[in-house]
Point group: C2
Chain length 338, copies 2
């Protein structure tokens, strides 16, 4: 492993590039980073003050073929942010605070300016999430990756006190489902989106439906982090379950937090579907059921809250600039459906 | 992220394959695994009893183009082991005990029997290292990976009490360097090894130098874990510094643990160089300096010990079945070389 902090990034480029990357990475460091030790591993001392029963929560992920859009648009500063935020969301919905992140960058032939943009993306999102970028590996494998192709993998490690784990096990009928807007397709459904859109458009095309945005810009919108709104709800003890809407869409991901005997009743007309989804559906003649199973359709995070808490939760979120929408409710599964 | 424990592995294969994979993964679980919670992240409760100042030590890595040898030999049960052991070694040399591992498997088109063999490899090595395989992601990306190609990435997370971190900062002139045999090329130098050997041989060829082993078998030998011998040395307080010999060979990796003013003096004739390295050197007409900078040459781990402790360290290692060899010593850098 290349620990950025110790050995620098193994890029055969000018010192300036390497120094800029090092500086970006160092800006992500939080007090837990043990920057001066560890020749082979990355060190992090968790802050356990007040934590009775510490549980580490981790997630490893990639960004799928959103990478192919980045390559097509020759824009590399966003995919690293997508990956960090995706991973952070996955542990934040469990109630965990992110501590640190490690990245892997597999590539056919390393292009220093691309590498700098990618790592800068990791660093930008890590800083925003107060999650230290403690290490990474850059692997040049010309026989595995084609020219211009690459893959990004990230692991986030976070901490939660066991009593504060958000599981959704007390979610019950009549609970309200609050949705938070997604910023775009996030990191799921790109195979379908690319197939449909690039059959018709280039990345530079600006179909009128997108209101001035190009196809590339719309597809590369950064998968946002929901850490702050999640923290706001958790601090106020206003949430029973949280779902990050990734592959599988609302049906698939809500199912992950609902106890047996409960189902989600989502009113798909309760929010405005962003135009990119409508464009994909129309151009690809995609059935509505497939749209729902594949895309977030404009809702990237769902919180299940007690009906009595719903108004307070909405206000709490609005107070920090969020735009929550009640999108449905939890219902008991009727006998014959179980 | 697909958490194996919760959602199973997302393979469109017969239930039997999925069940076998699930069962392999479950066999790796240690008491720290919180198997029943966590829909989006992987949970692990570290055992902090007796740990005064806990530090998490992590490493992310791949196995490089050893994957191409696996593909060529159509043998997929070893590369997962290589990856786990490589990562475990990287944190064990820092003094950390591995707790858990997460894997990423990026592939063009998923072949269930290959996936089963790969995950089985992760599970086998995780079990041997008492390191739980808590989660993984399988990403099918036909546009990124060519037919039959794939990449594997792993992250290990371990724990060490800060006072027990092995840094090498007290390594000093006259310390003895003890080497432990490697099992083969481990996971570094495969681009050179493949270029040279596959120019002359197929994976099935058995050059007489390899004593009956095929080229494929020799190249796919599993990168061993050094966790047990490292633990034996640490328990007896017999080690000042530990180096995992990966990319950069003995010179590059010993340098990582030597304080300023110290250099390693290695006697390259003090151990028998395994025939695979000699074969590569001869067939590729590779200069000795390049061999030393690229390969472990038969020594996969080096421990720096006090001269007075060397005999005891050797005996301690031999008592657990290891075959340690004194390979050199630490010397003061002479003034004009600094």
């Amino acid at each position: 492993m290349t620990t950025y902090k110790e050995t620098g990034v193994d890029i055969e480029a000018g010192d300036e590039t390497v120094n800029r990357i090092r500086s970006s990475v160092r800006n992500t460091f939080t007090p837990g980073v043990e920057a001066d030790i560890g020749a082979f591993g990355a060190f992090f001392a968790p802050d356990l003050e007040g934590v009775e029963d510490p549980v580490l929560v981790s997630s490893i992920d990639g960004v799928g073929t959103k990478l192919k859009v980045a390559t097509r648009a020759e824009r590399y500063d966003t995919v690293g942010q997508d990956l960090v935020n995706h991973c952070v969301n996955d542990i934040a919905v469990c109630g965990a605070e992110p501590m640190y992140f490690l990245d892997y960058y597999g590539v056919g032939a390393l292009e220093p300016s691309t590498a700098e943009a990618v790592v800068e993306g990791f660093a930008v999102a890590c800083t925003k999430n107060e999650c230290a970028l403690v290490g990474g590996e850059i692997a040049e494998m010309p026989d595995v990756y084609g020219e211009g192709d690459f893959d990004l993998v990230g692991t986030v490690v976070g901490l939660v006190d066991k009593a504060d784990v958000v599981e959704g096990d007390d979610v019950a009928p009549d609970d309200v489902l609050l949705g938070l807007p997604s910023t775009g397709i996030h990191t799921n459904g790109y195979t379908l989106a690319r197939t449909v859109l690039f059959d018709e458009y280039t990345v530079e095309d600006r179909p009128p439906e997108l209101g001035g945005e190009s196809v590339g810009e719309a597809l590369l919108r950064v998968h946002r982090s929901y850490l702050r709104p999640i923290q706001a709800l958790l601090e106020a003890d206003l949430v029973k379950g949280l779902a990050h809407i990734t592959g599988g869409g609302l049906p698939g991901n809500l199912q992950r937090i609902l106890p047996d005997g409960c189902e989600a009743v989502v009113d798909y007309d309760s929010w405005d579907r962003p135009p990119l989804f409508s464009l994909i559906q129309r151009e690809g003649d995609v059935p509505e059921a497939d749209m729902r199973q594949t895309f977030n359709l404009g809702v990237g995070l769902v919180a299940a809250v007690r009906k009595a808490d719903a108004q307070q939760a909405l206000e709490r979120l609005e107070a920090i600039g969020e735009l929550p929408v009640p999108i449905g409710r939890v219902a008991a599964v009727s006998g014959d459906e179980r």
